[in-house]
Assembly symmetry: C2
DNA sequence: TTGAAAGCGCTAACAC
DNA sequence: GTGTTAGCGCTTTCAA
């Protein structure tokens, strides 16, 4: 079918017209697999959620990321697929790599990641075009899109310091696990130290339920903190609930803050002071970077130092940490 | 490569072994596009969210559906892709059909749907294997998986009737738009009528914000309802918030209920009485039905009346409608 | 300016 | 029991 010669420079308008009509008449649609085979390139990119665990399946932030990812990919002429990766299950990664080697997708945006250096190394050795979304620091090998989580925490701590708080607790996933947790923790500790405040950290796993139990643990120990910061809004919702069931008044007895500014931050009682993160914008940027990575890999031309993109965040003041 | 003759009956174990070793040694991975082309069949199925709109992008129920959809599809050896369809934008459907015709996917589970009869007709005429998830009633042409939304609403109304309520309001998307809204509305009206209760319905669009404004409107009119049922938990969260800001006590002045039992139903203040819907189970069932549909279409054999699967729902009593 | 033909990597049918 | 080959539908190159 001379059809696709449409892009070919020399073709008579009337011939072009004739072919187009035939295409219309036959309801012809090119077979994408044949095209992919011939061109040896796929037009599917993958949105890969890293550190997938049961308690995070329903995390609303994923929708925002995925929806923006898809919108941008579609706009750029790419199909999308989604993958859930679990760093506790190495087999997941083998299967994922096999998927790539089978040409199921051209590259991946790894979301919600705190990828260990070893695995990061692995990814880059695989020659799989990869962009990290939410990695905490610049990578020598892969482009990274993140938000200024550190600054977000600092803004919260500063607000609380201004209001006279002395002892801040932070509910946050421990260790290097849990994506942007590192930057959030560091921002918290640095700002608290700068203001000369006492600090406690209490583990959570991002779920509301973990926020609930973490708050209970904090409150049953002495000395009690006079403000509790949560590394995300879901845990903050759990903490608010725990406070309420224990008869602790917020913000009178303790101020509580969240992080992310999800839909329900406005609807908790009291409503939640939090940090707004521009997730959609970040996802779109990640797609653009990924397409550039794919192009670099295809053309074999080296690209310099990978991009490190850090988006600004915004303090949203609501009732849970009001004056 | 005689490799794939692995499935061929007659082959000597030692030869098999030799080939397998070579595969390993060469890190060989079959090209999925070539396979798809040769077999003229794709192994990607689509999770298509119907009636996609900005205010529903972050709806947490989508994660549950998608994640279960993917898990089941993967278990059955299928890849997955996701699509957002908007019934207000017919072009979306043209693009979607083109996608199918280009063999980008083998079939689709249409979720969150109240597909109009005309469009339903269109889908079946397209010969695209399709399963409806959340359609309100049996279809003569397509398999349907739903939950007993009607019974869920009836259970809520009955509870409220037992507690002496006289005038129930329902916040729900109007008309045929909005997926399972029809069954939820009918269950509400039927049960209220059976108990001789006065009813009002007030429009919402599933978002928390719409629940908030709908509650305000209800409360500014006379007569005021003595209980407000919301067609989903998000709107209920908005209604609770509106009540709180207007100084209306829940459940003392008005009882409020939700529907779906999402993660935050437990964390609103007061916590939300609602109906639990087995979304993951429904999604898994839909995938199984879709694969059967694909098989029917491939083999050309007719299947009888399409399946209509209605899952039971459960009343979850919490504070917002407690005694 | 246009039609014809080779070949992408795989599977299934066929010859050995 | 094993190796060889045609051809899926497309793009690209080449001949007419």
């Amino acid at each position: 079918m001379s059809n696709v010669l449409n892009d070919h420079p020399s073709i008579r308008p009337q011939t072009r017209e004739r072919v187009l009509r035939a295409i219309e008449a036959l309801d012809y649609h090119p077979n994408i697999a044949a095209k992919a085979l011939r061109e040896s390139r796929v037009t599917t990119i993958c949105c890969g959620f890293y550190d997938h665990s049961p308690e995070n399946i329903a995390d609303p932030y994923r929708n925002l990321v995925q929806s923006a990812f898809m919108a941008e990919a579609t706009a750029q002429g790419y199909d999308t697929t989604t993958a859930f990766l679990n760093s506790d299950v190495p087999r997941t990664f083998d299967a994922f790599r096999a998927s790539f080697l089978q040409q199921r997708f051209a590259g991946v945006v790894l979301v919600g990641t705190s990828v260990t250096p070893e695995r990061l190394d692995l990814f880059s050795r695989w020659n799989m075009p990869t962009v990290l979304l939410d990695h905490t620091e610049p990578s020598p090998v892969l482009p990274v899109v993140t938000a200024d989580y550190r600054s977000g925490m600092e803004q919260l701590v500063t607000q609380l310091a201004l209001r006279g708080h002395q002892h801040l607790a932070l509910i946050i996933p421990p260790g290097d696990r849990g994506g942007s947790a590192v930057a959030r923790r560091e921002g918290f500790l640095a700002a608290a130290h700068r203001h000369g405040l006492q600090t406690t950290t209490e583990p959570g796993n991002w779920s509301s339920e973990s926020g609930e139990t973490a708050f209970s643990r904090l409150w049953s120990r002495t000395p009690r903190p006079d403000a509790v910061l949560c590394a995300n809004d879901r845990m903050a919702a759990g903490a608010l609930y725990a406070a309420r069931t224990m008869g602790v008044r917020v913000p009178a007895d303790v101020r509580i803050t969240g992080f992310d500014d999800f839909e329900f931050a406005r609807y908790t009682a009291p409503s939640l002071t939090t940090i707004h993160v521009p997730l959609a914008e970040m996802a779109r940027a990640a797609v653009k970077l990924l397409l550039a990575e794919i192009e670099y890999t295809r053309s074999g031309q080296p690209r310099g130092e990978p991009v490190f993109l850090k988006m600004p965040v915004t303090l949203i003041e609501r009732e849970s940490a009001a004056c």
